[in-house]
Homo-oligomer: 328 residues x 2
Amino acid sequence: MTKYDSAPTMKDVAKDAGVSLGTVSKVVNGLPVGKVYQRKVEASIQKLNYQVNSYAKGLKTNKTYTVAFLVPDTFNPFFGWMTYYINRELEKRGYRMLLCATNADTRMEQSYITMAQQNKVDGIICLSYNEGLQVQEGLPFVTIDRHFSGSIPCVSSDNFSGGQMAAQRLDELGCRHVAFLSVGSPLVNETTKRGDGFLSYCASHGLAYELLRLYDGAPFSEFTDFLQQHLAGEAPVDGIFCVNDSLAVKIIRYLREQGVRVPEDVQVIGYDGVKDYITEDYHCSTIIQPLDKMAEVSVDMLLSQDWSNTPTLVCLPVTYASGGTTKE
Amino acid sequence: MTKYDSAPTMKDVAKDAGVSLGTVSKVVNGLPVGKVYQRKVEASIQKLNYQVNSYAKGLKTNKTYTVAFLVPDTFNPFFGWMTYYINRELEKRGYRMLLCATNADTRMEQSYITMAQQNKVDGIICLSYNEGLQVQEGLPFVTIDRHFSGSIPCVSSDNFSGGQMAAQRLDELGCRHVAFLSVGSPLVNETTKRGDGFLSYCASHGLAYELLRLYDGAPFSEFTDFLQQHLAGEAPVDGIFCVNDSLAVKIIRYLREQGVRVPEDVQVIGYDGVKDYITEDYHCSTIIQPLDKMAEVSVDMLLSQDWSNTPTLVCLPVTYASGGTTKE
């Protein structure tokens, strides 16, 4: 009779190899450890005839150490960076990422949720702007920028403060008549608060404002008609806040084509703060989302053991950077 | 005694539900199918008490329908697009992607190779510029842009032709003295052939050329010293081919800062052809890599059943696009 009269556990392997339980877990899950440790653990596994699969059975649920990340795509730089940071945060904690580029397809999103419910992944982090996703209560699930109904936690940048910050900055830089321009999903999501914060500042500080919120698919001419109207007259718009940098860049290009000088005649601020990969410059003056911190908090919340104690919304602080389209 | 006196198979489920085997496989693997089909299959699974895990056991290897993709990061737009396309191609074939942003860390790359060898993933697609990765013969493994030793297949754009194409274009556009500039890994990889193709054209067509190949970490001043030297004199350089768009953008910016007009005085061509996400413009005149096709071929080769019949190098055709830094 050997020392191990029942099936050996991971603890037995750790003891035999003289390493920590975490090291054995990493080896078993194919994660990187030092070569010397790798060899020690592998030798003990062989010696004790430890069956790798017994590990999973020993836990109260079949832990897979795998988390699914649902994101529309990875070529939008905002999504590309978020994918990178979440991947890094999962890796730090010994987890792997199943990536699903959804193209915003609800059916694909739902199929991954089904997988999670079957315990084929330990949880889901979801960046979706779709309505009607059905998520079981209690399933480890964290959203980014999109506040689902129920108690599903959402992580976002502090969009309301960001909007306020943009208005305050335009105010301080001498603007007397500002505008908020947005285009996006008709669904109420966290990014809607960018405009809310902007208008809240204007209303509470007596700063005159205009407003144009469009939905995806609206023709760009609706923006240009709006601008034509408000750049003329006695009190033309002299400051614009756009819901994201992408829209800001398009608006700035249009203004310059019309002979309107940016920032001399009109100052423009966007939102996101993802630098151009090649030039390493901001695309415009912008409110910067803390993508690394958002990824860290999303992963921490998802893997939190005390799921009941999780806040339903975490807003992370934003900062402002001049990108040459304001008068600093 | 029921109709199913032994453990029911996936075929039994398909027959009972009146759907194809592929549909059952999708449901079992959590992939999207129509709601009606989903319900039919789930009802049959319950009725027959079909055990999902018996599926894997029935195959000669434990197929996971999961492929690992190793890539340095996802914020470099070239990598972001490649990740997206490979994800899409895997999804089309009913496979999922385990994403590993390696930061070019060899140890992390090696740990995923170990996973694959333990049959925890069905194969690996690897975009790595590291040396010394150890890959077992016979392991489903495809590289992009990096030709490993042995019979491991590599998929890349046709770098040699791309280099020739750039030289020919500069020649046709009137250049009389050209230069090739590159910076990258000191390892010989497929991208090295961009310069080879360029110089081959110059040598065979009597086009005078200069050459500066630097390695990662070299100071940018080595480029500017080189340019200072070759933009002066009786036969100044009037055409430049850069190893990628990123370097081309930096060179163009430097030239313009020095009062050298692009494309009037010096024409510049880069390589990659990834458009700016926001402006949707090319960053410069460029050789376009067919990223979607490269992803498709990589996935097809990896999942090919006849692994012995796989070519070791597949070069896919490139195209040229003017991006305003040449005289078209």
